[in-house]
Symmetry: C2
Subunit: 325 residues, 2 copies
Amino acid sequence: MKITVLSGGVGGSRFIQGLLRTKGPGDEVTVIANTADDIDLFGLRISPDLDTVMYTLGGGIDRERGWGRTDESWNAKDELATYGIEQAWFGLGDRDLATHLVRTMRLREGRTLSEVTAELCERWQPGVHLLPMTDDSVQTHIGIDRDGARELIHFQEYWIRLRAQVPVQEVVIRGIDDASPAPGVVDAITGADVVVLPPSNPIVSIGPIAAVSGIRAALGATSAPVVGVSPIIGGGAVRGMADQLLTGLGIHISATGVAAHHGARSSGGLLDGWLIDATDEQQTERIESLGITARAVPLWMSDDDTTDQLARDTMDLALTLQDAR
Amino acid sequence: MKITVLSGGVGGSRFIQGLLRTKGPGDEVTVIANTADDIDLFGLRISPDLDTVMYTLGGGIDRERGWGRTDESWNAKDELATYGIEQAWFGLGDRDLATHLVRTMRLREGRTLSEVTAELCERWQPGVHLLPMTDDSVQTHIGIDRDGARELIHFQEYWIRLRAQVPVQEVVIRGIDDASPAPGVVDAITGADVVVLPPSNPIVSIGPIAAVSGIRAALGATSAPVVGVSPIIGGGAVRGMADQLLTGLGIHISATGVAAHHGARSSGGLLDGWLIDATDEQQTERIESLGITARAVPLWMSDDDTTDQLARDTMDLALTLQDAR
């Protein structure tokens, strides 16, 4: 079976780990990673979501932090701060830095992000086909009000420096209209048996991937069921900081709110199925009234067992939807 | 008094430390550093001699190693090697990396190497005016024979990767003919009271600086005495690895050999005075026959006291030559 996952960073990676542990021996997993939170800092091209997926699946992630490398040191970052480099708010670890150096060096040599990602994955062997959503430059900017004036800042600055604690006025995904799917991305969607949206941020992770017009079209055209996992349990985001992002854009912070934002595939949206937390079971009917099949299961990926069970539940729902066709 | 020093990395820096400890309160020291061993690696512009001077005088050097930063870690370098990046033979420390990142970032923004050096020195406060010899790209390459064929490799590769253990067939200083002195360099020479050549490598450190035509002209024109310190004591280089470089170019490995290579200023060369080691005193006459005033003093900079005494002896010889005019 061919399983294709549209993924952000931390939540998506953890989900994919479960998928890899529970998949059948012949199953192949392709991950299309968000690149809209890529950023140019210190003269380096940094791809946080690609790296989080690669490090997590390749065994190099710092598990407690959820991002960056194990056994990491922070000497270059400390020095940059001492030099007065303003961007030193970014979590630039010394080991991680090597990945950015290789990526930047290769891009300057004229390679594409897809090619660089393949080279980096030769080392990490993530056990999936890891593809950037696009080889074009796409960068999410967040509109905030600062001293009464609207200001657009890069998503990473909003997320890390401001810790997502400032109201969001708008989200601008720069370059998205001119972005083409990276090689292999469209085929991975149209040729999939199942497409999965893991519990990644609907606005800044899943949103940009689905906003690449070629990807959007493929998601509409594929015969595979598209099944998503709610990133909201009860009234809060699973990973905390997404709330301001959602409310600022008028999305209700609930499994239903995000489902409504994504929309039913039958009416031009993204979803055939939607997994919500068992505690949100009462929302099932409202979600199904949107034309999306809902199933309530435990969503917390608190350990390997719960993560694996969520992966199984996701595949179960997908196969049910497949059979129903 | 205005003292201008033409410097390579380790030997020059140590000598300048002595100069700073022993100079008069109103004396100003300008250092014109070799940039011909600059190299582009990992997409970064690395300036080993500028950094060694800056770190040493700014208190950030690793004293035992003689290059790179104190309290250094090597995680980025290890990772680059794990990625299979061939250039990982270079000693790229994590703290040091930050300097290269700032330099590269600024150069890409369109700043000159002089401007970047000034910015970096705002942090390091080296106590001297530190100037690159040129803002233009100049890179020393070493011709070696490999499998019967002549090959030109960057000096850093020869020095670090091959540990200078391979016979040198030729030295090519790429870009030197088109290089102009950096801002302030010519004035620092023509306006100096004393010009000093510390015990730096005559071929790859002092050589390239003096080979910039505008600098060569300024060294010929200045009314200041030009006094050098021999990098050779007895029959060996003070810092070891220079021997192959000298013999490959037909220079006799002795204080006299290097003096003859530099030549007397009175006949178009570089030197008015030349300090040789006390143990080489018997060479005094031969050096003076070249038109260069020689003085035999202890040259080993084994601790602060001996280094300071060498700085005093150098200034003494310079002032004697000044008085004699």
